[in-house]
């Protein structure tokens, strides 16, 4: 285990982290402001990936495909909000779970009908397909580096949007006390829709950028959704800062767990047993992290309100 490999794994962890952050940022706002659980958030991620794959093929350009696909994913989010979810804000969480579970079934089958059951391949654009040597002797895929840069740019954008603009002020106010904001005369419905569009767009962006790294397939949304839940629980419901810290934490723990735990067990177990125990523990590492955080801070690291 040398230093260069550790640097590479750290970058991989951060890259997974910013991807999770794109998912978690929108979802945590929806939780915080609307007190609503949306299982179908992963569907926007999947839709974003599939649309990007299609438009990339159409325009023969990944960047153009992404630019078209992400607003479309946001539009899908707005339609879902207006048609199905709007009536659910005031229902109890069980109703929201059930209805958005129904949405997942619908979207998964719809995607299967439109694009078929075979996973699609998405290739990164030409100028990002190579390797970059950040540190001499440690080449790193340029596309993954680009994902990190985009993720950090989005985090900065959200920081400005939420912390420095009027819309952001209303979003924060809605997250901390919805009734009071409404009583002060702010019409909260368009803000809900805007937040939903933002969340769906970010999920679509995450899906688009995940395309060249993972497979574009039905069910990809749920895998990342559950990781996103872990991120949000660790970070604290409704907190963008919590989402960022939680996402990077989960990304790093997951990546290093997979590399270091089997190696660590090899120190005192025979190699095959060590591989087995290590990979088992590695697959559980982020959940153990979550349980540990909850044991000390049941509301997460940065609870947004209450």
């Amino acid at each position: 285990m040398d230093g260069l490999l550790l640097v590479e794994q750290a970058l991989n962890g951060v890259q997974l982290g910013v991807m999770l952050f794109l998912m978690a940022a929108g979802l945590t706002l929806i939780f915080g402001i609307m007190d609503m659980i949306n299982l179908a958030h992963g569907s926007f991620y999947m839709v974003g990936a599939f649309l990007t794959a299609t438009f990339t093929g159409l325009f023969d350009s990944f960047v153009l495909g992404l630019i078209v696909a992400v607003p479309l994913a946001a539009a899908v989010g707005v339609v879902v909000e207006l048609v199905a979810l709007r009536t659910l804000y005031r229902r109890d969480h069980l109703d929201q779970v059930l209805a958005t579970f129904g949405l997942i079934l619908f979207f998964n089958e719809l995607v299967k009908i439109i694009w078929g059951p075979v996973p699609l391949r998405l290739t990164p654009p030409e100028f990002l397909s190579g390797q970059v040597e950040l540190i001499p002797g440690a080449p790193y895929p340029a596309f993954r580096l680009a994902v990190i840069v985009v993720g950090i740019a989005v985090a900065l954008f959200l920081w400005v949007l939420i912390g420095r603009t009027r819309l952001g002020m209303r979003i924060r106010a809605g997250a901390s006390n919805r009734e009071m904001v409404t009583a002060l005369g702010v019409d909260i419905a368009p803000i809900f829709t805007a937040v939903f569009a933002l969340g769906a767009g970010l999920a679509g962006l995450a899906g688009a950028m995940a395309g060249p790294i993972l497979a574009v397939e039905v069910g990809m949304g749920e895998q990342i959704l559950i990781l996103t839940f872990v991120v949000i629980v660790i970070g604290g419901l409704g907190s963008i800062k919590g989402a960022f810290v939680g996402a990077v934490l989960v990304g790093l723990v997951d990546t290093f767990g997979r590399v270091l735990l089997p190696a660590a067990f090899k120190l005192f177990l025979d190699p095959s047993t060590a591989d087995g125990v290590g990979s088992s523990l590695a697959s559980m590492s982020i959940y153990i992290l979550m349980a540990a955080v909850l044991a000390f801070r049941p509301r997460g690291l940065f609870p947004a309100y209450g």
Binding site: I37, F106, E109
Partner: protein, 362 residues
């Protein structure tokens, strides 16, 4: 159990009696018709009904929206599967426990193991409420899913083919489909009877009080956390029993038992059947599994190739049920005098808004 009036209670007793009589008559009828397949299908439905009923105990009566209940079903199934693997090659689990196919050991062991795993998970999850609780139960179920996928000794992703059924003392024989059916029915009825007693007991009343208003229940001096944890562990143990039976019924156990959508299916069964009612989860399990069995074929009859995509209809149906028919199938048992269907389809008043008849009076 909602505290229904006397006529409703009588009607329920009659309907439950009729349903039970029909279930008792099903195997001879199916065998007489030369359709033994239906006995096996009904057995699987009864076992899933048991799993759904165990979820109903915490979801319906305790208000805990657990999105990870399938994990305990899977654990129960894996107890049978792992014991079978070790019985097959004569090795021992962790070098300590020898394998077995003895049902008298395996069924209680499945309950014990599922309950023991439910204990720490419940202890952590119940520290939170609301959305966090839903997400954390889902996350822990996923953790167990990935753990089982990573166990190469037990075929990881591919799961275990359990081709020898658990042996039980005479007259029960799981290799005989009729005998297996009656065992599943007996277990389900016994658990429903237990649920009925439990919900009416002091324990059940505290649980329901915590569901309605946790702060008030605590102010009255009840440690609601402990009551909820006991219910969570009990529900997990019974789900484990259902899993052990299901592994026997299908001859297979794999990580797919614990997948997140299985947990979703269990919630769907409870809600479309009628949440917090005695017969509801069983009715919901029946409806969902019959749809799963027959809808693909029926749809293929309409438009060839549509069958495999039947869930594209299930999704919107679920949304409509949530929006308009929250009392579920069990609501039909109670019947509503006068315009039953209309009343049934009417959405519940929104929380925070008084029912219409109160508003009119003001």
């Amino acid at each position: 159990m909602d505290d229904a009036g006397a006529p409703t209670a009588r009607r329920r007793r009659v309907v439950h009696g009729v349903l039970l009589a029909l279930l008792l008559l099903l195997p001879p009828a199916a065998m007489a018709l030369g359709e033994p397949f239906y006995v096996s299908l009904a057995t699987r439905i009864l076992i899933m009904a048991l799993a759904a009923a165990s979820l109903n105990l915490i979801l319906g009566f305790g208000g805990m929206v657990s999105f990870g209940h399938a994990a305990f079903v899977g654990i129960g199934g894996y107890v049978v599967g792992i014991a079978f693997v070790h019985a097959g090659d004569g090795s021992a689990f962790l070098g300590l426990l020898p394998g077995t196919t003895n049902g008298l050991v395996l069924l209680p062991l499945a309950m014990l193991v599922a309950g023991l795993i439910a204990l720490p998970i419940g202890a952590v999850c119940l520290r939170t409420t609301g959305i966090s609780f839903i997400m954390i139960t889902l996350a822990f179920a996923q953790m167990l899913f990935y753990l089982l996928v990573s166990l190469r000794r037990y075929n990881g992703q591919d799961g275990i083919a359990v081709w020898q059924r658990s042996s039980l003392p005479w007259p029960i024989d799981l290799n005989d489909r009729v005998s297996f059916y009656y065992l599943a029915l007996a277990v389900l009825v016994a658990f429903l009877a237990l649920t009925h007693r439990l919900v009416g007991s002091r324990f059940g009343r505290v649980l329901r009080a915590a569901k309605d208003n946790e702060r008030r229940a605590r102010a009255l001096g009840f440690h609601t956390y402990r009551y909820k944890l006991v219910a969570f562990v009990l529900a997990g143990a019974v789900a484990g029993l259902a899993g052990a039976l299901f592994a026997n019924a299908t001859g297979f156990v794999g990580p797919s038992y614990l997948r997140w959508d299985r947990s979703g299916d269990l919630i769907v069964m409870v809600v479309i059947g009628g949440i917090g009612t005695l017969a509801g989860p069983a009715l919901g399990a029946t409806l969902l599994m019959l749809l799963e069995e027959f809808m693909p074929e029926a749809l293929d009859g309409l438009v060839p190739g549509l069958g495999e995509h039947w869930k594209i209809f299930l999704g919107p149906i679920l949304i409509l049920i949530v929006l308009y028919a929250r009392r579920g199938l069990a609501g039909l048992i109670d019947g509503v005098p006068g315009g039953a269907l209309w009343r049934h389809l009417r959405p519940e008043p929104e929380p925070g808004k008084p029912p219409r008849r109160w508003r009119k009076r003001r």
